[in-house]
């Protein structure tokens, strides 16, 4: 038990060290912008389909549940507000982050783990190239760009899903749906805070994904364990960070 606790604390220390190195090497992106663009595609563009489909279904469910609940109080016109605020403040950033960790975080860990097990990282170092600058930094910041954009897509498609189920299928007034939403969603308080959340989640997920890749054992079993760790630890960390951020951002509002 003590050994496990020591190992976890030591891992946290190593992760923090890696985080500082990633921040300190931010400007190396200038030399590796091509890699950065590739990584935005790898982590972001390839996640669009899963994000879009999930966003649509979450919007459908939110609309349906919201409509049924609000009907009891005779205020079904407020369903647009409910869908939008739930998505922008909470569900959008969190679900996008969890889906991102499952799709892109796992891919990042697998990529680094396989590069390690096939000696590609050492080969790189033998050519006087630092994997930190060449591989980790572009991946880290590519995620930080991708997740907020994906969150925006998720929320937008989610709102459309909510519109489809409530307005098109259940007959809520279209004008009321949009106008109530416009009146209640605040650019800074809701959208900006949602964006800040998604950036924080992206940094957490990418840090965990990169770290797990670098410490993975160079075996098939080692890489698969590292990928599993990335998804599990990222999902739990996102929920924990979400609680902390929400308690600062939205309490008392």
């Amino acid at each position: 038990m003590n050994i496990l606790a020591f190992k976890n604390i030591s891992n946290l220390g190593e992760e923090f060290k890696l985080l500082l190195q990633l921040f300190a090497n931010f400007f190396s992106l200038r030399q590796n912008y091509r890699q950065f663009v590739n990584d935005v595609f790898f982590t972001g563009a390839l996640s669009i389909i899963i994000i879009t489909i999930s966003g649509f279904f979450v919007g459908l469910v939110l609309g349906l549940q919201g409509y049924e609940t609000l009907k009891r109080f005779g205020s079904t016109e407020a369903v647009g507000t409910m869908v939008a605020l739930s998505l922008i403040r909470e569900l959008g950033p969190v679900i996008t982050a969890i889906l991102f960790s499952a799709r892109a975080g796992s891919a990042i860990t697998a990529k680094i783990g396989l590069m390690k097990s096939s000696d590609q990282l050492i080969a790189m170092e033998m050519m006087s190239v630092l994997p930190l600058k060449k591989i980790y930094v572009p991946l880290f910041y590519a995620g930080a760009i991708s997740v907020p954009i994906l969150t925006g897509i998720f929320c937008s498609v989610g709102v459309l899903g909510g519109y489809f189920i409530t307005v098109v299928i259940l007959g809520v007034d279209s004008g009321a749906f949009w106008s109530q939403m416009q009146n209640s969603v605040d650019l800074y308080h809701d959208i900006l805070n949602g964006a800040i959340k998604s950036v924080c989640f992206a940094l957490v997920i990418n840090l965990i994904a990169i770290y797990e890749g670098t410490i993975s054992k160079p075996t098939a079993d080692g890489v698969s364990r590292a990928v599993t760790n990335t998804v599990v630890i990222s999902a739990l960390s996102v929920l924990a960070v979400d609680f902390i951020l929400t308690s600062f951002m939205f309490t008392g509002a």
Partner: protein, 262 residues
């Protein structure tokens, strides 16, 4: 004429977790020679390559490569990378970058370590590919290459920066007999034509003996033999070379036991 030593090991000790891997190893690699290192698995052969390339540092003793001294104090990154730019390492299975095609794999170290324009890089890659006897495979991805071809592409990549020390980690492992012959000839050819110094870690003793100038045998972390291939037979009996030539029934003598192969 006395040849300059490219690598000097002086009483090098290395181990971890209380496990001794190298126990006071000393040897020199003269310029222009090919040295083969033999020994059973875990004898410390690959550790020697890791110490030369600065992937690990000795617990005590010194390693001198060119003007660089590796000791238990390590070496700062700048110096280490400068030293590494003068050496090449062929990994056991090539370690080609799987996301890059053949051309980009060979061009990678050149792009990262020079400011040459794309045209010059193109010409250099062509020269390196010719040196390993490969043509018209620029756009092939590593997964489409045979084992022997992948090893040759990796060899072309490891000579991309014109190193003067080339290290080979099990270069014949997993190859068919024809590819083994091609790779062994290439090692000899490149060493002679480019004026390299080579160190080879291998289990394929017969092939290694054919191309080596020096032999080092490790056992339990110590050097038990450091000599030339022609002298090794007289030291360990005439049947020795026969044995490694394929006559596996005749000689199970002292030497084989000492290197842990029996």
């Amino acid at each position: 004429m006395i040849k300059k030593n490219i690598i000097s090991f002086d009483k090098v000790f290395f181990g971890y977790n209380q496990k001794k891997i190298l126990d006071g190893v000393s040897f020199n690699l003269p310029q222009g020679t090919i040295t083969s290192v033999f020994g059973s698995s875990g004898a410390g052969k690959t550790t020697i390559l890791k110490l030369i390339s600065g992937q690990s540092f000795p617990n005590s003793g010194t390693i001198i490569f060119d003007k660089f001294e590796f000791s238990n104090l390590g070496l700062n990154k700048k110096k280490l990378y400068k030293a590494r730019s003068r050496m090449g390492l062929l990994f056991q299975f090539g370690a080609l970058f799987t996301d890059l095609n053949v051309f980009d794999n060979i061009a990678y170290p050149i792009r990262e370590n020079s400011n040459l324009d794309e045209e010059s890089i193109h010409d250099l890659v062509r020269i390196k590919l010719n040196a390993v006897g490969l043509h018209d495979i620029d756009n092939m991805m590593p997964e489409h290459l045979s084992g022997g071809m992948a090893r040759r592409v990796a060899l072309a990549r490891s000579i991309a920066l014109d190193p003067f020390l080339l290290m080979y980690d099990e270069p014949f492992t997993g190859l068919d007999p024809l590819s083994v012959q091609i790779i062994s000839k290439l090692i000899k050819q490149l060493n002679d034509s480019l004026g390299l110094t080579s160190i080879l870690v291998s289990h394929d003793i017969k092939t290694s003996l054919e191309i080596s100038d020096n032999i080092i045998v490790l056992s339990n972390g110590k050097i038990v033999c450091n000599t030339t291939p022609d002298k090794i037979a007289s030291i360990y009996g005439e049947k020795f070379l026969e044995f490694f030539g394929g006559f596996t029934k005749n000689n199970k003598g002292k030497f084989m036991k000492s290197i842990g192969l029996l």
